[in-house]
Symmetry: none
Subunit: 415 residues, 2 copies
């Protein structure tokens, strides 16, 4: 196994003002080559701290990446630290200075004095071309180990990583890591684990991770494979097994989103959907219309926050609102029925609940929500009990509603 | 100066699948107390690596935080490493087991066996209450130094950090970093900079950062101050200067959100608002209803995606839709007028545009949006040209619409 360490450099990373997305990108790219990032270190623009981190990294990792500290506006601490660590001087590259000058001229600027240091690099560095900026990347061979240094600007780091570093590292490994993310909603992490962990017992080469959010848990499967094709079909088979165990909870894989999956089913059925929302306040319609092309199957949505509007717009009978209350099965059924009839859509989703944090009662506490989906004369209404946080309650309600709709559409599509 | 080191634990952080937002949050909170995070380390769920990182951190930092590795489904590597490092055993807390059991029962679940280890902690740990979950935080005194351990779930980490750790650390420092975030929308970063940077010339102790997003730029002001009161009034004065320079762009500070500011103005005017949305698909209603108590001023919203629905629900004349098109000033005016009359609200917002990525023409390219706000007989409609990305276009449209509404309400409130 080849291990990597990424070192991020910059005071702005430490002060919490910039998220270190570079380390994330590098780790993903390396992992796809079977190189495992085992340590991530972040230090400030401080000579001793950089040198110390580099020393430590070379004592334990095979591949070390440095990002940041190469910009023209700070004092260039990374190059100083590298010179210092390798006991070399800076070397001036006149051809690089020419290139940088041209780059600036093309944009109608004169090269500021401060940028001229971008033509100087530690004498033992192999330079790595930067197609997205003027600061070059650097490679240093240290026995069997290797150090790569890149600018901190994500666009430039990515260019050097993809065009220069990955091709150099590709031949060092034969293992590849294959990945699939399986998205679920409506089942807590511990229950998911209990229903599926047995299938991984005889698959020791498969790594499983549970990534929980309040709107659902993503199950990530990773497979180290020498043979990419065999590995891919092993992963596919596992996803099928999971789908059979969790047909209700799993709505998609990888880039799939629940609204897009729902949209695909509506297209298959050549059907339209409408929304009647109380506590979600437009979130369900908003999620549906995040999908490009959704105007093909979504034409109208109603946000009926007040009882008066539930009655006036959706024709929910006043008697129902008075006797059962707005948060009730009867109201949600009437909302479904009203939305279907005024919109002319084939399917409707309706929700009514107490988003909170205020407005709860003993009978109807904060987080209680009725969710209905249906088509003419075929309504399903379920009661849910979510939590105390308003925005999370809205998001959980919307996901649960779209998932109920998905199951209804799926049943109709496979009939 | 007191130095801190944050250690993030978890294979998912190293594999690049989860961004380490915890370290960012912790660094910001510590900086506000004048404690500088000088190193950030991330290691996997590996006993030796965790112990090694802890040892290293205690050799150089005064305050060490650990996050992650405390979830119920993984083997709990962090607690093992802490026991190992401090040469202590786990201690079982029956009262915590009871609490966790009750927490599960309240949600209608039985506590899974796998969660029972959340009642065990290293014997020398001082437990820190977690108001957002069942895994407790831990504090360890090591001579003058201190180690805090928290779960990796951001919501739980934040609760422990804010409620338990910050109060404990407050007394250790006298310097404070005072901060204010000033939120703007609708003006690009470079234009903001040009209009305001002159006021910072004579304030060398004030650090200014521009944090741009597609929905607006936040200007962050930081001030190191020994005297918190004097510092606070210097900051307040600067915010007032900014508000005078940018009255249209600045909508709030710190935790203010644009929908909440709009809601406050509606309350002041004792007025109600309604929404008529085409390209935003419910997003504006959704943002308004993210604010607790919004049912006081928001009763009804209409998502009229199809022309048929703009006519049927909002009474937009068919002639207007045919001659001017759905994306036009005339249509948006008619949408405002229809929404006001059917909802009975005092104010309305209406939008119609090409969200993209498809549907653009030469005359009406992707990203073109008409936004209208108004009350009876007093409509303002403006045309905007946003970008190519569908979801970003929706978000920019919603922010621009709410900001136009804010300015209208403000004018009416100060008349």
């Amino acid at each position: 196994m080849i291990f990597a360490e990424t070192i991020g450099i910059g005071d702005e990373l430490l002060s919490g003002l910039t998220l270190n997305t570079n380390s994330v990108f590098i780790a993903q790219e390396l992992e796809a080559l079977g190189i495992m990032t085992r340590w991530q270190t972040t230090v400030g623009d401080d000579l001793d701290d950089i040198r110390d981190a580099l020393d430590r990294a070379l004592s334990r990792a095979d591949v070390v990446t440095l990002t940041g500290g190469l910009g023209p506006t700070h004092d260039d601490m990374t190059k100083k630290a590298l010179c210092n660590y390798f006991h070399v001087d800076l070397k001036f590259y006149p051809e690089i200075l020419e290139k940088i000058k041209k780059r600036f001229e093309r944009r109608g600027y004169k090269l500021p004095k401060i940028n001229e240091n971008q033509a100087e690099y530690p004498a033992n560095a192999e330079l790595l071309h930067n197609s997205a900026g003027s600061a070059q990347g650097m490679a240093f061979q240290v026995g069997e180990k290797v150090v790569y240094s890149m600018p901190g600007v994500p666009r430039e780091m990515r260019a050097i990583m993809l065009e220069e570093i990955i091709p150099r590292l590709k031949d060092r490994t034969s293992t590849r890591v294959l990945r699939v993310r399986v998205h679920t909603t409506g089942v807590p992490e511990s229950r998911l684990y209990e229903s599926i962990h047995h299938i991984f017992r005889d698959k020791p080469d498969l790594k499983v991770a549970y990534l929980p959010k309040h709107t659902g848990v993503t199950i990530r499967l990773s497979l180290f494979a020498e043979d990419a094709k065999a590995g891919r079909s092993e992963l596919d088979a596992t996803v099928n097994q999971l789908r059979q165990l969790l047909p209700k909870a799993i709505y998609g894989v990888n880039e799939d989103t629940l609204p897009a999956v729902v949209g695909e089913l509506l297209r298959q059925l050549n059907a339209k959907v409408t929304t009647a929302e109380s506590c979600t306040g437009g979130l369900i319609a908003n999620m549906l219309t995040d999908v490009s092309g959704s105007s093909d199957y979504f034409e109208a949505g109603y946000v009926t926050y007040a009882n008066r509007v539930k009655h006036g717009v959706l024709d929910v009978p006043l008697e129902v609102l008075e006797s059962e209350g707005a948060v009730s099965e009867a109201t949600v059924k009437a909302m479904l029925s009203g939305a279907l009839s005024i919109s002319g859509a084939d399917y409707a989703v309706a929700v009514s609940g107490i988003a909170g944090p205020t407005g709860g009662t003993e009978d109807k506490p904060v987080g209680m929500v009725y969710i209905g989906v249906g088509r003419k004369d075929d309504f399903t209404v379920k009661r849910f009990q979510f939590g105390q946080d308003r925005v999370m309650n809205k998001e959980m309600t919307a996901m649960a509603a779209l998932n109920l709709l998905r199951l209804k559409l799926l049943a109709d599509a496979t009939q």
